[in-house]
Symmetry: C2
Subunit: 426 residues, 2 copies
């Protein structure tokens, strides 16, 4: 496989025109869309209009006339199309962490009502920490146990899962990119009597997701990664229709009230998923998110998530093969699943010697991935993490990224590199 071969793949790629919908900096190969998605070309003008016309001219009237008040549902309905949810089932709100607090509270209420003897919240020892922190808080409040396991051990644990109230899992692991089969795992959890919460932070917009098809219970997800909603974009929350109205969630702010503008003294939750809203949301942040989602939905006529997934796998497979071929002199074992069906849209390479500096040297060469140190005291390796967003990543980008990686390693220039780890916000 030569660079020309890659260029030919790009020339034949029916998704290639989507790249023009993004603004990519000159001289940069961006393989960190799993951390912060790229700026859509339409975002600056759309947000400028929201600021200058809607806010500046319309002022308070724009809550209605510009549809700000409907943004959580309107953008939610668009995201729903990407994750197998029905219209009206998903809303944009708050952050992933705050939304997890809501759905885990609801899931625990359901579990306690249906099976009070269950005392365990089961999650991934390698889950993104904020999910574990929120779970710790709620477990402490309710006198429950947060038990951590691994993807490898999960099925056996669920087989003896009579004590499990809630399974909380990030479908695609942020470090390894390992992806669980949502339908299969949900079925196992349900067979054990547990309620499932899926964190779609690295799934939504990255891989096909079918929440209703999987009979999942609750889901949350992130707006600033594969949805390209901008730094710290609002998150989303979904509940299966069988659960939505069984409980309030505890963050019972006025936007989740059945009639917010009646200014009632007593809380009455809205029908449907709107009860998962809380305070007044940022219209500017949601407007930027809407553009990001629209940009993803522009792939629908080209095959949508299935086509994006196919390209993502071709990109990541090319990367894996190229690294093996051209960086063979260096120890960079694949830290993501070899099996395409078990890998999200990213590839991680173990790099325990100087991984931090290797990534710094790569970034200095304009190839932006990120670095994740080995977590905790276990044997988890340091990782070089590369995301392959099929909306704007070309096959030649993959080729050139491997060229840069080989150069950095072969030359030893990484020994001189510096990298500020704080920049790597997942």
């Amino acid at each position: 496989m030569t660079r020309n071969d890659c260029a030919a793949l790009d020339a034949a790629d029916p998704l290639a025109p989507l790249r023009a919908r993004f603004t990519l900096p000159e001289g940069v190969i961006y393989l960190d869309g799993n951390s912060l998605g790229v700026l859509p070309a339409a975002t600056p003008a759309r947000v400028a209009a929201a600021i200058q016309q809607e806010w500046g001219e319309g002022l308070i009237r724009s809550w209605n006339s510009a549809g700000w008040i409907d943004l959580p549902q309107r953008v939610g309905d668009k995201i729903a199309r990407l994750v197998g949810a029905a219209p009206g089932e998903l809303v944009v709100a708050d952050s992933t962490s705050v939304n997890l607090y809501k759905v885990l509270s609801a899931a625990l209420a359901i579990a306690r009502a249906d099976a009070p003897a269950r005392r365990v919240v089961l999650s991934d020892a390698e889950n993104f920490p904020t999910d574990l922190y929120i779970a710790q808080s709620l477990c402490a409040q309710h006198g429950l146990t947060l038990e951590l396991t691994t993807a490898d051990a999960l099925e056996a644990r669920l087989a003896r899962g009579q004590d499990v109230a809630v399974l909380l899992w990030t479908q695609v692991n942020y470090r390894s990119g390992r992806m669980l089969d949502m339908a299969r795992t949900t079925a196992l959890a349900h067979a054990a009597g547990a309620v499932t919460i899926w964190d779609l932070a690295h799934s939504a917009g990255a891989v096909p997701v079918d929440l209703n098809g999987a009979q999942a219970d609750f889901a949350i997800g992130c707006g600033y990664k594969y949805l390209n909603g901008g730094p710290g974009a609002p998150a989303f929350v979904w509940a299966h229709a069988r659960h939505t109205e069984r409980f309030w969630q505890p963050l019972s702010g006025w936007m989740g009230h059945a009639a917010p503008f009646r200014f009632d003294t007593a809380y009455q939750p809205a029908p449907g998923i709107a009860r998962y809203l809380c305070g007044t949301p940022s219209a500017l942040a949601m407007t930027a998110l809407e553009v990001g989602v629209d940009t993803l939905l522009a792939a629908e006529p080209l095959g949508g998530m299935a086509a994006l997934r196919a390209k993502s796998l071709r990109l990541s497979r090319l990367f894996i093969d190229q690294v093996r071929e051209r960086c063979a002199a260096h120890a960079l074992p694949l830290a993501s699943p070899e099996d395409d069906t078990q890998r999200g849209s990213q590839v991680s390479l173990a790099c325990n010697e100087g991984g931090y500096a290797v990534m710094a040297a790569l970034i200095a060469r304009g190839v932006i991935g990120d670095f994740r140190a080995g977590q905790g005291t276990d044997q988890a390796p340091d990782l070089l993490r590369f995301g392959f967003t099929p909306l704007y990543t070309r096959f030649v980008d993959v080729f050139d990224a491997v060229t840069a990686l080989a150069t950095v390693l072969d030359s030893g220039e990484w020994r001189e590199a510096r990298f500020n780890q704080r920049a790597a916000v997942t």
Copy 2:
């Protein structure tokens, strides 16, 4: 008092040049800055730079290189200057509702630790509903009682307040504009043994606030009213230093962790107020808020909040006097305190006959205030609500607004008017 007299007041007003720092639509007199502040002139370019340079060019690197990661503290320190808090004591985060959940949880933890027999959360029957809804949620969780009283009855209730765990009060009432003396009320609450939470939604940037001077315990506030941060701008949260590190708050997201980028499995709260952060915040929304706060701080060389307060009272007094003089034929009793020291930066007029239509007719004439229906089943009247933001409101605006009001009432044109109430987001 003639219009020319008002123009002379404007000509002599040392704060008048601040108006040029805002973008006001042509033909509009905006008296709803208590609901959504006006667009600062500097915001569009600043947010455009955040989108195009920081996000578009800097991408993930901007969390560090553009200082996104420091925004909650940096903007928080600026807001601190407006509310009598010290640097490092206040952060920008989430929404007012979410922040109330945090501080009320912490306040209840403190109250339960120090005085477990106290079972009452005391609040204002006319509080903004979202505060009551959040309090209901936490009271239900903890088996406590939410008791509602009135500003008139508050001192007597606190005098027999041995059962009160937490006093939760919005310093300036959103309907009437009635303002409590924070130092006095806090002292009474403390004498009763209660912990105080002050909602500064209609105080911050509107009236001088001295949280530390008042020995207040916790405070929250809103970014999109007098701080001019844009629709649904992030909110803020403050805790007195004596409380900050006594407890976690339950929304223990990764941004509140002592070392978020260490990706520890176990939550360890950050030192200081940073533990009141939760998930990843919107850098775009916080950037817009920073411009809004900077625009307020531009008044510091002109006397700051004290000078703004003095002008605000002159504006509202002028409005009250002018309405009495020029709308005398109509029943519009003042629904705000007559006493300047007990009134925030707004004036409400009771208007039980056709108030909704009167406001619609005013808006059709370019005078934007808002309408608040009588709350609940009590005797609270329908209100016309007018906010007087001294940063950009002129004395002639007040005069012209009263002219429009008199015209609407005298002509009877209000009988034809329509007004979509949903537009009136507080």
